[in-house]
């Protein structure tokens, strides 16, 4: 991914920052300038919020065949996580064996390296999800 494209989305990927619509209360991830429900009525009403990073596993898979930049990581687990605040994210699932993974289990986010340097030279970091270890 190109440097400016990656740089713009750092706060989402590093800190799970999304948006809250102060018109209807809907929380969305990643950030949006318009609420998908209120549309024009949300103009100027979108506030940045940081999500707690805890949620529930909706579905998952174990990836055996990946693109070349992730070939060395296979097999790895991927899932869709529904955050407690509502929005869903697609992320890698870590610190769990496939036998331990269950739809509906509680997970929390981790800050991890997402891959080696791309052609742009930037090493990508961001969220992955694993079992809840903190209180």
């Amino acid at each position: 991914m190109q440097v400016p494209r990656y740089w713009r989305e750092q706060s989402e990927r590093y800190k799970l920052v999304g948006s809250k619509c102060n018109n209807c209360g809907l929380r969305v991830f990643p950030r949006r300038s318009l609420c998908p429900d209120c549309r024009h009525e949300s103009q100027g009403q979108m506030e940045e919020v940081r999500f707690e990073g805890t949620g529930e596993l909706v579905t998952w898979t174990r990836v055996h065949e990946a693109l070349s930049d992730r070939e060395l990581e296979t097999p790895y687990l991927m899932g869709i996580v529904e955050l407690d605040e509502g929005p869903r994210v697609t992320a890698q699932i870590v610190d769990l064996d496939p036998e331990e993974v269950e739809i509906g289990m509680e997970l929390e986010s981790r800050f991890r390296k997402l891959g080696e340097a791309s052609e742009s030279g930037v090493v990508h970091y961001g969220y992955k999800f694993g079992p809840v270890v903190s209180d």
Binding site: V58, H64, Q92, I103, H124
Partner: protein
């Protein structure tokens, strides 16, 4: 809106066509379609050419003009436009052409589609497929297209009890159909054991659950009723064209065990005709993975949610059943030449309705449906094709 007819059909074989360039493929399919229609170059009023990845992989834009030029028609100065909608591009070109005729803007329009996957490395081909999903919020985190469909499959299994065995039945059935298709890239039968024993790609999806990206081209000539009557020859009418969208990322959808865009497109398409799902004799569906065919059958209204798998196992989706699903072999056995696929689907249905399908002819084929999907369902396009009556 005017009635729209398919008056000519052309298609190359699908497969690893190392010796043929993109421009040769589209010219071969286009020439066959134009000759089948009995029109001549100067009769063509406009061209729409679909390609999902040529701009990205081959660094070539203006594919519409390239195709027009190769056909020797550059001097006629008619409009030629490239259409992109991920791996539903071919169906989007067909829809653009159909709307151009229906609106009265043009009388004779060529819809073509072409993909050249073997000129690039396999990794780039996989990347091209993945780019129909959300690259920033799915792909960046390691989700491939099969990984996303695998997650749909796991949810479908959790909700409906779909089994590994049932998924394999879809592949076996489509290869049985494809074995009779001379244009198919993979014209051989396979077994449940082979599918279930093939290498894992993204659990529960295995290699033989996946459609392979291949080279190929397909083209159709469309015309209004007056032109179709002047041309004579067999006619197939496009009685409905519908397109619907959904969130780009799978995780942004309300439900991930259905394709809401396909459901919306099918509802609109059936509303345009006098038909419901029960009237459809054959359907060319987007079986990019085996789970995709089951979910499509349910979303398009052919079966209740969770009922497509047992129908498939019982032989209700092949010859002699409720309807014949993917008589060509589908994306699985014919091969998935991304931009050409939507047009190859329509070419198959047209051939079936014209009784031109040889060994794989569907008995009494009158009403056919095509469904193309981009990515995990951001776009779905549905067409209904029927016999166009006597001359």
């Amino acid at each position: 809106m005017r009635d729209v007819f398919i008056v000519g059909v052309g298609m190359t074989e699908f497969g690893e066509l190392w010796e043929k360039a993109l421009r040769e493929l589209i010219t071969e399919a286009g020439l066959e379609a134009v000759q089948d229609a009995g029109v001549r170059g100067p009769d063509i009023d406009a061209m729409y050419v679909a390609s999902a990845s040529a701009g990205r992989l081959l660094g070539q834009q203006q594919l519409g003009v390239l195709a027009l030029d190769e056909a020797g028609l550059a001097g006629h100065h008619v409009p030629a436009t490239r259409i992109e909608a991920g791996d539903a591009s071919g169906a989007a070109a067909l829809r653009s052409a159909a709307l151009a005729v229906a609106s009265g803007a043009h009388d004779v329009v060529v819809a073509g589609g072409v993909e050249k996957m073997t000129d690039v490395l396999e990794d780039d081909a996989t990347r091209a497929l993945a780019s129909s999903a959300d690259m920033e919020w799915e792909g960046f985190f390691g989700a491939t297209l099969p990984a996303l469909y695998a997650m749909m499959a796991r949810s479908h299994a959790a909700e409906h009890g779909t089994t590994r065995d049932q998924l394999a039945h879809v592949a076996v059935k489509n290869h049985e159909h494809g074995a009779d298709n001379p244009d198919a890239a993979f014209p051989f039968t396979t077994s449940l054991e082979s599918v279930k024993g093939s290498p894992p790609v993204s659990d529960p999806i295995r290699m033989f659950d996946c459609a392979s990206p291949v080279d190929g081209a397909a083209a159709l000539v469309l015309a209004d009723r007056d032109t179709a009557e002047q041309l004579g020859g067999p006619r197939v009418q496009i009685t409905a064209t519908a397109q619907a969208s959904d969130a780009l990322a799978l995780h942004r959808r309300d439900a991930i065990t259905e394709l809401a865009s396909s459901q919306a497109a099918a509802e609109e398409a059936f509303a345009e005709t006098d038909h419901g799902p029960e009237d459809v004799d054959l359907a060319e569906l987007h079986d990019v993975y085996t789970i995709a065919e089951l979910i499509s059958l349910e979303s398009l209204g052919f079966y209740e949610p969770g009922m497509a798998a047992t129908a498939t196992v019982k032989g209700r989706t092949t010859h002699g059943g409720d309807l014949v699903v993917n008589p060509s072999g589908g994306l699985k056995a014919r091969g998935h030449a991304l931009g050409a696929t939507g047009l190859a689907q329509a070419a198959e249905v047209a051939a079936q309705i014209r009784r031109d399908a040889g060994e794989r002819q569907v008995e009494d084929a009158q009403v056919g449906l095509t469904q193309a999907v981009a990515g995990t369902g951001g776009t779905s396009i549905v067409h209904v094709l029927e016999g166009g009556g006597e001359l």
